[in-house]
């Protein structure tokens, strides 16, 4: 992995961890950016646009995760994602971006 990629550290704040609803919001947020975005811990990084991968991280409350982004809008993406984590996913009813198109 390119060491120069912009990277941030976020903490899972909501009591129930990164479960289905926050993961859904996170994927929608990530998918609205062109950059490829990775998230994970201890070197285990997964695709931030894949809800199944996010859920299998099993990130409970208090888990510290590393996010990195690669692409033209990488900084914006990281900023938005960091805010989403800081808000604990609760006050963010409005998420930019639509459902990702079915792969094809």
């Amino acid at each position: 992995m390119n060491k120069n990629l912009p990277t941030r550290t976020v903490t899972v704040r909501n009591p129930q961890g990164l479960h289905a609803r926050p993961a859904d919001l996170l994927v929608r947020m990530a998918s609205s950016y062109q950059s490829s975005i990775s998230i994970g811990r201890d070197g285990e990084l997964v695709d931030c646009k894949s809800i199944l991968s996010l859920l299998t991280l099993g990130a409970a409350q208090g888990t510290v995760l590393t996010v990195s982004a690669d692409g033209s809008d990488a900084d914006d993406a990281l900023k938005a994602i960091t805010e989403l984590f800081e808000a604990g996913f609760d006050d963010t009813n409005e998420v930019p971006g639509k459902q990702p198109a079915v792969d094809g």
Binding site: G17, A20, D47, S50, L52, L55, G58, Q99, D103
Partner: protein, 581 residues
Amino acid sequence: MVELQGIPVSPGVAIGPALVLDADGYRISRTLIAAEKADEEYARLRSAVNAVAEKIESNRLETAAVAGDETGDIFAAQLQMLNDPRLHGELRRRIKTELHAADYAVNRVLRNYAIALRRLENAMLAERAEDVTDIEKQLLQQLGAFDEQPLSDLTEPVVLLSHNLSPSETANLDRRYVQGFCTEVGGSGGHTAIVAKGLELPAVVGVGTFLDSVPSGTRVIVDGDRGKLIVDPDESTLASYQQRIEQSQTLTAQLAELRDLPAETADGTRIRLSANIEFPHETASCLERGADGVGLYRTEFLYLASTEEPSEEDHYEAYSQVVSEMNGRPVVIRTLDLGADKMGHRPLAEQEYNPFLGLRSIRLSLRNLDLFRPQLRAILRAATHGDIRVMFPLITTIGELRQAKMLLKVVARDLKDEGIPHRADIPVGMMVEVPAAVVMLEHFVKEVDFLSIGTNDLAQYTLAVDRSNEYVADLYQSSDPAVLRLIQRCVEVADDWARPLAVCGEMSSIPGRALLLVGLGVRNLSVPPLALSRIKKAIRSVSIDECQQIAERVMTLDSARDVDVYLLDRLSVLVPELIVT
């Protein structure tokens, strides 16, 4: 021979070759496709994905409209899973490069995700595996990979062994071939148990892990009286069980002779003995055993046994069939009792830490009028065909009762305005199953035409025991003196106001407890069809004095255990034929 202990939930003995279902009730075999078919196969998968996406989206919209966006979000997450780019990358690779058939690829990939999720330590995340499995099943169904009923093509008698069976799966079992079943999980008093009893299938649940060690075809015995599963029985065990089956057939034949005799005590006190049913076809076994009516028609099984939400017409047809077939005998319809362990097609409350204390039953109906209204309309319409009465479950406050009755009036007025034939004046009753209702019964009784005690829920709420939780299930006894005192109070209040009072819980189907209820002054009992003859036999074998003596003595005892020991002792003297050896 191996003997395993579980929880008996439906009486009787079944002997036969085991049919072992894997954890999800179906099996997808490894199928490869020709290289030139890969594009076509991938297109087939894509159109299945689109069809399932549409279904999930309409679930989401419907649920969000009824239960709010938060609940609808469950489906938003499912949709996100279905559209997951990693998932599609993997499916595409398997089909296009490894030449897996679409259903095999779906099965492998989604199952791997489900396994990974189940391994997580966080219980809530682990539960998301259910969503993945749900998507897998829907895709496989869309791909035509398996029938909705994996057990629909049986040709030989079998004893079913499975990790779990849902109430709807149990309801759909082919009774010509399935002799009985045994599951690894489950507790007593769950709804699978009620369905098994309704279908008269011997059943044992909650045995713990055993499926891996029993190959299909092994001879097994399910002992639904003692809660045992015997794998590969030796000759003497087999012989003694075969003898038991014969004995019980003899007793059944003897009891059948009681059919046309009334349920009255030896000295002539008439007890109305009705039946609890879940399915319209059960009216046949009610009539066969001479039931005085249907005392409890559990309508939620219309929801659980079908893949689509029932329409007003579905309700109407089912109720009309039941009341017509019962031919003048009263039919008491209980309105929807969904929630807690019985869910319909839409999850109506996302997360309830205490579902039995949550949005269930009448509470759920009153909050979802689009579910409730068609049912009430159908009940009033079907009442033109016979003696239908309506009963509201889980009434806790007077407000709920009034609201439900008001809605019934509104619906009747609508039907009148629309010129649709119906009856507006049917008797209205309430179930007494929450201690609060017992305490306040003087106030409720004035506003209803009849009362019916649901002892299952009354015991559960009085004793603070979840009856489907195997860890505490032993604390759950409808013969607990605390429960008996509440029942005694109901009898007193009902007598004061001259309102008919029935007991329709499981309690009335246990012969000793039924005699106790009669002794306490209960004159209406409603039991599963299978129990009708036994209870009639018990009633006809005793005098009302003997029942009253039983009640007097029991009310001096201080534990469920003492009550049961005493009742068993009395039963062995008064009705020795009914004691199972």
